[in-house]
């Protein structure tokens, strides 16, 4: 792959502070050279432990940008991009910094016409893993530095027990479909990878020397292979844990129907959701009817209906970001459900969410051939 090294001074090799500084200098250059006018990035708020999302316009503000921080605070960045560009393309050139899963969900949103990539410079940020928001907060409050911890785990190539389940099984440590990638995996210094002609042009405008880097490709491939095997084993376990209605019912035992998983899901963009409509809740008549017919009924809260229904609706486009699990106030391990199931669904359609911008999602594609669901008539 093509790209450019940002830090050529060998003294800074692997210096954590320098990595952050290099990214910030890169963003600063983007603004200074007028490649973009605005940058949407995670931003350090000195008052809070979690970074906030902010659009910055002045080069000097870039010092406080923190795109590499290993946490997704609440909503994914793709939701913000969708909010900004859904109605019409943004008028000023904007650079967005996205984690790989956020970039993948942005691709899905573009396919569903919920976001527009015109005038947008997408910059993917390599992600070796991220922490649960609460773990992250706790770490910061206790004085530990999550970013350093993540970088150390990356250097030793050991992973981290505290990473979210979605991150432990993630097969997308490097964003696809972005113009540029901020590379930290498989390189000692910060490497800006150009994926598109727009990306290459940007690097040239800033005045960086473009080089080939095959070592990084190899290392990324190794990481994905290693994770893939782990993922297979874990997903098998997860599905075993959820096999059958009894186990599913137990899994959702303490769900409080808050719909947080739906709110944060980048794919759940419908303005009018069935589960928030009048049709979803059970009404008085149903309780009476069922009780008379069955003699006894369990509480009809529609939890299973909500979770399975939502799963069927979004599984073809699920990007396995695991934010549903992070958002659950009852700490239900939702990724165990949507991770493996959506993988199976996408495999059956020979589709991978967020992979190719040109592909259309299975639910909007019409298959000329019979999908093998009905018996073929002998003619």
């Amino acid at each position: 792959m093509e790209g450019a090294f940002l830090e050529s001074n060998p003294e800074n090799k692997g210096n954590i502070k320098k990595i952050k500084e290099s990214v910030n200098r890169f963003l600063q250059q983007l603004l200074e050279k007028k490649v973009v006018e605005w940058v949407l990035t995670p931003y350090i708020n000195p008052e809070n432990p979690l970074p906030e999302r902010r659009i910055i316009t002045k080069p000097e503000e870039a010092i406080k940008a923190d795109p590499l921080t290993p946490v997704i605070p609440g909503f994914p960045m793709s939701t913000f991009v969708s909010e900004i560009t859904r109605e019409k393309p943004i008028s000023k050139p904007l650079a967005v910094l996205l984690k790989p899963c956020e970039a993948a969900s942005l691709v899905e949103l573009v396919k569903f016409r919920q976001a527009n990539l015109d005038n947008l410079l997408t910059i993917g940020v390599d992600c070796y893993g991220s922490y649960h928001v609460l773990d992250f907060k706790k770490m910061v409050e206790e004085g530990e530095k999550p970013f350093e911890r993540m970088i150390n785990a990356l250097k030793n190539n050991k992973g981290d027990e505290l990473f979210r389940t979605a991150c432990k099984t993630c097969l997308k440590p490097v964003a696809e479909n972005t113009d540029l990638n901020v590379g930290i995996i498989g390189v000692n210094n910060l490497f800006i990878q150009a994926n598109t002609s727009k990306g290459t042009e940007t690097l040239k405008k800033i005045g960086l020397k473009i080089v080939e880097n095959k070592e990084r490709d190899q290392k990324i491939k190794e990481l994905i292979e290693e994770r893939g095997e782990k993922r297979k084993g874990m997903f098998k376990e997860f599905l075993k844990e959820l096999h059958g209605l009894h186990k599913l019912n137990k899994f959702f035992e303490d769900c409080i129907n808050c719909h947080n998983c739906m709110e944060v899901c980048p794919i759940c963009f419908c303005k009018e959701c069935f589960f928030e409509s009048e049709l979803h809740p059970y009404v008085y008549e149903k309780y009476i009817k069922f009780t008379i017919e069955e003699g006894t009924i369990q509480e009809l809260e529609g939890k299973l209906q909500f979770h399975l229904g939502r799963l069927i609706h979004m599984s073809t486009s699920c990007v396995s970001c695991g934010l549903c699990e992070q958002a659950c106030p009852q700490e239900i391990k939702l990724f165990k459900l949507c991770g493996p199931v959506s993988e199976n669904v996408q495999k059956s359609f020979n589709y991978r969410a967020g992979e190719k911008l040109e592909e259309t999602p299975p639910i909007t594609t019409f298959y000329e051939e019979d999908l093998g669901l009905t018996e073929k008539q002998a003619e």
């Binding site: 599905l239 959820l242 096999h243 059958g244 209605l245 009894h246 599913l248 019912n249 069935f274 069922f290 017919e293 069955e294 003699g295 006894t296 009924i297 369990q298 299973l304 209906q305 399975l308 229904g309 799963l311 069927i312 609706h313 599984s315 073809t316 493996p340 199931v341 199976n344 669904v345 059956s348 359609f349 299975p362 639910i363 594609t365 019409f366 298959y367 000329e368 019979d370 999908l371 669901l373 009905t374």
Partner: protein, 149 residues
């Protein structure tokens, strides 16, 4: 909801099957089957919809969760939809539902999609007989059990 007929002191399982039938084809085929006096079991509770593409997965799921033993979806043959491509949509949706049910061990055989056109009264009767027999062999929907425990 379950209908039970007492036969020589022994309870025989009568499945409840919810049918979503397209107004332009399968519903008419059901009519035709009746007109030409073909026998098919009364276990199917037909719901007439304007197009098989109208059926959101939620309604299939709702039928199962509220105690249906099987769901039969009937639509026009591919390329013969009254609304251009409704049956293609139904096909894709059913495939997603089946894949999710299979992954979670929820007996995806309880859901069946068939293309039955207006003139295929015979096929309708055959499918109805066969599907009812299949569900009878499979036994009651596990969710029903869950409700009673």
């Amino acid at each position: 909801m379950a209908e039970k007929s007492v036969e020589e002191g022994k309870e025989k399982f009568e499945p409840v099957i919810v049918g979503f039938f397209c107004r332009w084809c399968t519903s008419e085929a059901a009519d035709l089957a009746g007109t030409i006096r073909l026998q098919y079991p009364p276990n199917i509770r037909p719901i007439r919809v304007m197009c098989s593409g109208f059926i959101d997965p939620i309604y299939v799921l709702k039928a199962f969760l509220e105690g249906a033993d099987g769901v039969l979806i009937g639509g026009c043959h591919l390329g013969e939809c009254h609304y251009i491509n409704g049956n293609y949509k139904a096909q894709t949706r059913v495939k997603v539902i089946k894949e999710v049910m299979k992954s979670l061990g929820l007996e995806e055989e309880r859901l069946r999609l068939e293309w039955i056109s207006t003139s295929e009264g015979l096929k309708f009767a055959e499918v109805a007989n066969e599907f009812t027999e299949q569900i009878r062999r499979m036994g009651p929907n596990p969710l029903k059990k869950l409700k009673r425990e």
